[in-house]
Chain length 417, copies 2
Amino acid sequence: MIGEILSTGDEICQGSVIDSNSAHIAYLLNEIGIAVTRHTCVGDDMDGLIKILSDIGKHADIAVITGGLGPTVDDLSAAAAAKAAGVELEFNNEAFLFMEEYFAKFSRKVPGSDNKQAVLPSGAVPIVNSCGTAPGFIFNIGRCRCYFLPGVPKEMEKMISRSVIPDILAYRGDEKSVTLRKELSLFGLPEALVNEKLKGLDAMFPGVKLGMLARFPVITVKLTAAGIDKTGLVHEIEKAAQWTAEQLGDKVFSLDGRSMEAEIASLLVKNKATIGVAESCTGGLISHLLTNVAGSSDYFLFSGVTYSNDAKKSILGVSEETLQAYGAVSEETIREMADGVRRISGASYGLATSGIAGPSGGMDEKPVGTVCVGISTKDETAVYTFHSPFKERLSNKQIFAICALDLLRKQLLKDIT
Amino acid sequence: MIGEILSTGDEICQGSVIDSNSAHIAYLLNEIGIAVTRHTCVGDDMDGLIKILSDIGKHADIAVITGGLGPTVDDLSAAAAAKAAGVELEFNNEAFLFMEEYFAKFSRKVPGSDNKQAVLPSGAVPIVNSCGTAPGFIFNIGRCRCYFLPGVPKEMEKMISRSVIPDILAYRGDEKSVTLRKELSLFGLPEALVNEKLKGLDAMFPGVKLGMLARFPVITVKLTAAGIDKTGLVHEIEKAAQWTAEQLGDKVFSLDGRSMEAEIASLLVKNKATIGVAESCTGGLISHLLTNVAGSSDYFLFSGVTYSNDAKKSILGVSEETLQAYGAVSEETIREMADGVRRISGASYGLATSGIAGPSGGMDEKPVGTVCVGISTKDETAVYTFHSPFKERLSNKQIFAICALDLLRKQLLKDIT
């Protein structure tokens, strides 16, 4: 089955907004074995819309179209779809009912200005939108089954998972088909090398599809298996995930696609442990990541972003002698920072970073990209030095932060009793 | 002139990578008055590429194509372009020279495996790539002047600004045309309302184009004027920027499109001031933003991410009585946090946040989205309470952080002597 994706809207066509919807849709279609051959974006222009919809009707089997379902004059998708299929627009009672149900949640009636959203091509089947006012709809143009969805990512994402994918499976007679997913998150390998290491997967596990999503500096490897033999698929995808984890070794930090901070969170909770952080070069990013996890106040006690040497001394108790003799970026200083923050926060773990994020501040023996990490526990304090190849400040902060959290993760795993 | 954008590559078509290149290119083309009517993305498939390139050759005047210029077998752009135009591929000496120059920077010769990157359609004019190995090229297909660029964003962005835009201007006889830009950054208005407030701009300043870029929770308004009468354009765009600033009032925090943290940085430097931060609900995000600015160690002394009440007491010196009587999210506590961090850091300004980012933790009188901000100076301590409409943790952290920095900005402006 051939799939196409069409995003509409001047804001995307003229570059005011990056189209992230299409990647999301492509990924989900690809997962259930629909080959996405083309994405197109056109502006809010009736002729342009009719032309591309007619073309999609000739070439594709399945299409997902986003945007242009709102109440204003530049929302043209329903009208363009009707023209492309040669049918009339009509008021759709079921679509209006969906809108009534949505507004009823807020004890409101559908405002008159929104009525247009229930005017759909004749024969369209509305799709419920549980978190917005504009319903979507299913409508055939030529040989293609078209799914029209709002452009708002939150609304679109819910609707495609809940309504569109199940409908596609039913449409092609795959109601009993199940899709299984496994995700592995890793840090410390470039994408090209991950690809290289996983080259044999296709041949060994022909039923498993490999995908990859890079969110610097973390890569998520996605495995998908779809079919009707659920037991067989579970076996196949588990074996593929195990093989993948072996290929990537200790670079993998999560076997279920979680973020580094979520992984740390569950390990801290499991260990009944708490954490205090002393950040120099990471400038607050480690704390920001840790506190992005809901419930983090249970284990995250304190972080001192001690940028100045004075703060390192007065807040963390790093000694003047150490700073003088070895400098702020040294294993000696990081040891005192990690111990200091563990002591003053009363946490069971102290994590500390000090380094040179750049772009300036590098020296011959400590170039930009150098980072020292310290982990203090009640039994011992471990210190590490790493070098990132990057010269750019934000990239280095990101690498330093994930690198420090990954070392903490390994320590937490060791300490599980 | 009609413009089109084509991005190529399985990784985009299948949704592993979000296509951010197209928005960047569309924005720059739009700025010089080229109407971008369509973006398309196709995978690494020869037939699909030839078809879309032939189609572009019939309909567009200018096209920018990204990706597929590398050395591997799935890099098909040059071959597809040659087929679409009905010419042969040939070894391009100038392109090879560009590659030699690139490798010479690292005292290396061009590796044999990269030779393919210099094999271009007959008649193509190579475009230098100063930060990567694959040269781009200009090549006419049908009526369309096509610019082929690498898909790596860093390389593409340099090449389009340095080579493609000037070539387009020369091609249409606008060598003397200048493009002027003004950007205003604002916080605290939704995009729809900004649009509404700026509705009259087109009519009042017909030579000025309006664009908008939303990076939650900040919006950047972009004004562009292009033409050959530079003096007139300067006058026109300045007046348009002034009118825009008046419409948006004190929501505008930068008249030259800078980030909030860059704006704060220059105000702190101007005031010869330093800053200490005490973060509760923002969890380190304010520190992370402030330290993203190179040179921030000159004025950023310390941040205490005091998540626990114990840390608020022991590190910042907030009194047990205040916490007991008013709670952690209160103007009384935030006052002591701001004063405390100013005192212990020795900074001239103390900035503090405490609030409920969610998703849980809200109460009737202090719902999720409540934030208290405190600013302590040597003369006075100001405290504020705001409510965000969001229930989602990361969105609230972002709003709280920018809100606190915006209050600090206003204080710094007041204090400029």
